[in-house]
Amino acid sequence: MAVAVGGASAISACVDEQDDIDVPTGTDDDSLPERQHAWDGFLETDDDGNVQPPEHHVLVALSLEAKLDDGDGDSFDDARETVETSLRTLERAYEWSNDGLLFTIGYTPSYFDRFDGELPEAVDLPEPEPLTVSEDPAFDEFDAVIHLASDHADVVLRAEEALFGELEELNDEPVEDDLTGVFERLDDHRRTGFVGEGLPAEHTDVGGVPDSVPEDAPFFMGFRSGFRESQATEDRVTIEAGPFAGGTTQQLSSMGIQLEVWFEQENHTQRVMKTFSPEHAEKDLVGEVGEALGASSGLTDERIEATEADATNPGVVGHAQKAARARENGNPLLLRRDFNTVDGDSPGLHFLSLQRELTEFRAVRDAMTGADLDVQTLNNGIMGYIFVDRRGNYLVPPRSHRSLPPASPE
């Protein structure tokens, strides 16, 4: 089952499944990590040591209903306690893992605008903006987003329902408080998705998802992603100084993907060239869905440096190759936690990345856009296949400041 349909009907549809699975319960003590984004150590890894993301995701968009009476946020105290109690309910109900529930709450620049103070210097959180000449996205100008993730779709859905007062118990834990009155859920901006071997191919009933999506592919575009050596560590994306030390920034771009042309016009060799690099195709490094790559995307320094030359000859460059140009001393800057979607009955991607500073996302995105490369759009990695509709930037505070933080906490 999937999480695309929310609400009571989805929940009742899950009840049967709920009877069949035993989801481990969580904890009420403070043993949980200070970093909300500390997921990797609680996820499984594959045989090559690549972290396997939770399979099912919901992004719950939130608009703050609680009113601020003062500039420093003290008048939020009651609301803050409500949020914290509600989030702790989730932690008590489900183990902090892919088998239970992982979640974060992040706040937009619009949220922080209401406070008198400025965000600390260590927090680089600009307003979202268009990042290529060909995109014209809408922006997440609401206040916050909760990212719920689990290998069990019903866990994600139930957690969401519990947060909004629709359940009295969650995995046998009493739901003492919920977010109603503090946050309004913005259904139009709710986003859902999935990632994992075989899941994309389950959606070929959706228009725009061709039957030719590979059975084993974890992502719609047909290849593995999130290789250990292509991912920043959680340390690398964590804010190191100031009151939000232990937090991170989250970038979320939602985009449509053109899969019919990708799978029914391009051949596998072309897809490999455009996803990785021309040399990946020439040397057959990838395998059908990326299984031959192991723990890395196979990007040597030479392949990364060859990007510009590849644009000239043979006239095509790879997405991974291009983006890797932004690495710092060979180390990736972004921790990708992206997942596919069929929101709007159309294939897409919610590209969620964590990075210490949004500027680093911008650098990687610019490298991936490849505006500096003299190459035809449809040969410019996957640029001809993705269509960004929305973008949002968020601060994911450390756990101790996760509930309605002021712009500059004590």
């Binding site: 000449v133 016009q265 006239g315």
Partner: protein
């Protein structure tokens, strides 16, 4: 073209990976070849009435060749936005070839559900067809609902249409559809009157009907040639867009005995096309007979003939009349120092590769030039109001007698309709010499 030239154009494309179509339908389509001995001009209709019969040509030359048929299409009214005019054209979904580096793949539509949507985009002021990729985006809606995912239409060349953007677009339902086309800023050097243009994103939209009448019209309008002409060296004449509107009451198309494809003397720049090479090759009024005033004229992306380029024309080192590579013709001239195409007082090397016969610009190539085996200079793709699409760069101290080599680092990364699919692929360097300047 003389027969002796033919052998020279036969080039080995086996170095390139040419894949058989992966779509399930292709085997059946390819099989048609076997049953075509005596009725090629009137083949049996395929099972799918929304698609005409596609025939495979065996032993295609590695050069521009005559396709099996002339496409029929429905012309829609051009739309304007900013500096652009866009003319939409619709045909049945049909095969074409996409290019990624050295990798070529035939796209074979699975069925006839949908259209082959084509768009010619030109500069409204000058009529210059903008034959460059800029990452256009196409979104189709019906009753306010998105139909399929957005897409980036392929930059594409065809003998009839010249340079255009196009793709096979699947449509599931009949009815009125709205297409929205976004043209981002043009990421290419522009010079002359075009300098500083195309810097704003423009969005254009048009409506089209997709229904049984349309399908019957475009399928019935296909004109098959005699089988013995298929694959012959040559090309269809650029289509006179005004004459192919099947919404007109009279369809001149079938009565036109004068097959215009140029395998019999129409070659390269030596002979003017019947509608084209006036002093102003961008003239909107090619359609001189005025019979089709009810229809806006769509310019064809035709480059000026060689003799219209100023400067010192470089000569092929092998003594041939014109320089060619991969069946493309290379018009190459060296401008006097300090021309308007350079910043300082360097000379300017202008290289204008084009298709034979129709002089369609070959866009999205990577070219570099070297003089007397010296350092290689990359040539920048440029559009100029006078010289149209070319590749150029500054050179210094080039003199009569110097050898100039133009290297093709990547061949035209544009998709191709039938007849262009085997040309402009294997492109050896073009060896030229700077002649004595005639005074």
């Amino acid at each position: 073209m003389s027969d002796t030239d033919n052998t020279k154009r036969r080039i080995d494309r086996r170095r390139f990976l040419v894949h058989a179509g992966a779509a399930a339908g292709i085997a059946g389509l390819a099989g048609c070849t076997l049953e075509l001995d005596d009725e090629s001009a009137d083949p049996d209709p395929s099972d799918d009435p929304a698609m005409p019969q596609f025939y495979e040509i065996e032993d295609k030359p590695d050069a521009v060749y005559l396709p099996t048929h002339r496409e029929a299409m429905r012309m829609l009214e051009p739309v304007e936005a900013g500096e652009y005019t866009l003319a939409p054209m619709l045909s049945y979904p049909h095969p074409f070839w996409i290019i990624s580096g050295n990798e070529i793949q035939e796209e074979v539509p699975e069925d006839g559900n949908g259209v082959h949507l084509m768009m010619t985009v030109w500069d409204t002021d000058t009529g210059i067809v903008l034959p460059v990729d800029s990452g256009a985006q196409l979104r189709v809606e019906k009753n306010g609902e998105q139909v399929g995912s957005p897409r980036t239409p392929w930059p594409m060349i065809s003998q009839q249409m010249g340079f255009h953007f196009g793709d096979n677009v699947t449509l599931e339902e009949d009815g009125t559809h709205t297409a929205e086309v976004t043209l981002p800023p043009l990421d290419v050097r522009t010079t002359g009157e075009l300098e500083g243009k195309y810097e704003e994103t423009q969005t254009l939209s048009f409506e089209f009907e997709y229904d049984q009448e349309f399908r019957e019209e475009v399928v019935a309008g296909v004109e098959y040639f005699d089988e013995d002409e298929w694959g012959e060296l040559g090309a269809l004449e650029p289509m006179d867009h005004g004459e192919h509107d099947h919404r007109d009451k009279e369809d001149h198309h079938h009565e036109d005995d004068d097959h215009e494809h140029g395998d019999d003397g129409h070659h390269h720049d030596e002979e003017d096309h019947e509608h084209g090479d006036d002093d102003d090759h961008h003239d909107h009024e090619h359609d001189a007979d005025g019979e089709h005033d009810d229809h806006a004229h769509v310019p064809y992306s035709e480059l000026p003939p060689a003799e219209e380029y100023p400067g010192t024309h470089l000569k092929p080192a092998d003594g041939d009349e014109e320089a060619t590579s991969g069946d493309a013709v290379f018009v190459t001239t060296l401008f006097e120092p300090g021309s308007r195409l350079v910043d300082g007082d360097e000379q300017y090397l202008l290289v204008s590769p084009r298709t034979p016969y129709n002089r369609v610009p070959l866009a999205d190539m990577s070219l570099s030039a070297s003089v007397d085996d010296g350092e290689s200079v990359s040539l920048e793709q440029t559009i100029d109001d006078e010289f149209d699409l070319h590749y150029g760069g500054p050179l210094e101290d080039v003199e009569s007698g110097d050898d100039v080599t133009v290297e093709i680092d990547s061949f035209p990364q544009v998709a191709r309709h039938q007849g262009y699919d085997t040309a402009f692929l294997d492109m050896p360097p073009v060896e030229l010499t700077v002649p004595e300047v005639d005074e």
